[in-house]
Symmetry: C2
Subunit: 223 residues, 2 copies
């Protein structure tokens, strides 16, 4: 029996936590793999077993956005994948700029995972004259940071990735906000002040290592 598979929202998106959307990203990655392997349907339990996830959690997360499962069948892989891409806003190409053409910025510019999901790395921006006009190994051009505002005025830029040394992060964030970009992924350590209406997500690499350090220190205490 087919159940209602409309993707009518049950709750306003404001109530969907970032942990939920992070898990949707993970499910999407799994569905991509299944689709590439020619798998057409999968149950929440099958998805959980194959990718080391939690079946009840999968059902709960998806239930926020509609009823995608078919009783006795599970999920249609291609269909659920399309729904998740739409929910995550990936049904259009997202245009990304990276500020800071240092090691990390260059690595991010050429990171194959971004392109696979439909993110388009439009360009790198830097303040160093010896970098401007060159490009990353993968061919992403490096522009003058001073040109950010005019580039943003000319073409739509969705996300700015900040990968500059800590002291430059806030001034760069101010430039990004002034250029009208509404979403920032920040790799620089420290808190940034961002006006309402701009979404900030931070990835602090040192914090990640330190949480492992904490775990190791506890292990030593227990031993």
């Amino acid at each position: 029996m087919l159940v209602n598979r409309s993707n009518k929202r049950k709750q306003p998106p404001e109530q969907v936590s970032e942990l939920t959307t992070n898990r949707l990203s993970v499910y999407l990655r799994c569905l991509n793999e299944l689709d590439a392997a020619g798998i057409q349907t999968i149950s929440s339990q099958g998805l959980a077993t194959q990718f080391h996830l939690n079946a009840a959690q999968i059902r709960k997360d998806l239930a926020y956005f509609g009823e995608f499962g078919v009783r006795g069948v599970g999920y249609y892989v291609k269909e659920l994948r399309r729904h998740l891409r739409k929910i995550l806003g990936l049904d259009r190409r997202l245009r990304v700029v990276i500020i800071g053409a240092g090691n990390l910025g260059l690595a991010l510019a050429d990171y194959p995972g971004f392109r696979q999901e439909g993110f388009e790395i439009v360009g790198l921006f830097d303040a160093a004259n010896e970098k401007i006009g060159h490009e990353s190994r993968g061919g992403v051009p490096i522009h003058d940071i001073k040109a950010l505002r005019s580039v943003a005025a000319r073409e739509r830029l969705d996300i700015a990735v900040i990968a500059v040394p800590a002291p430059h992060a806030q001034p760069v964030a101010d430039l990004v906000v002034a250029a009208g970009i509404k979403a920032i992924l920040n790799f620089s350590p420290g808190a940034l002040v961002i006006p309402e209406g701009v979404k900030l997500k931070s990835v602090d690499l040192t914090v990640s290592l330190e949480s492992l350090s904490f775990y190791l220190a506890q292990g030593d205490l227990d031993a």
Copy 2:
């Protein structure tokens, strides 16, 4: 009046969430800055105002580990910094290896933030013959991944960073576990299967971008 400043634990460390330890890392970063600027004492409110944090949260987080504040004074910067470094296990040098000498691995190897906090990047490991024997721009040597186990047997390795393409991540994680390394920071997409007693932390760069994409898509719906 001096209050008791012993750092006797009030709760077993098992109950301290990763969000708490992540915040401790952020506080440590702030204290480093204050110390470098020659500031000797600061209140939780001062810390909160200066670094855009929450004063009540700071007091609550620190209370897990002892009473560090002095009434009428606040925190002694150097002392709290030393306590936090100890709690986070940073009072000894942590030896880190990076598996995967691609763009991301090379960028991480030379990332200045790691060294500042006392992490020692011992080496990069890769399977590609043309990379083995070379080094990163910053001088981190690239070893044969086959040598990981013997290096680990010879010297203490605390943390392995995995920065390899997705299909290689699980076999590499298995090698890391077999080498006796107890903490993994994984940058490859997808879930890894890790035995109990090994701590895994994952940074999925695509998931981070997709949570911004989700936010932008909601914004479009609202508009």
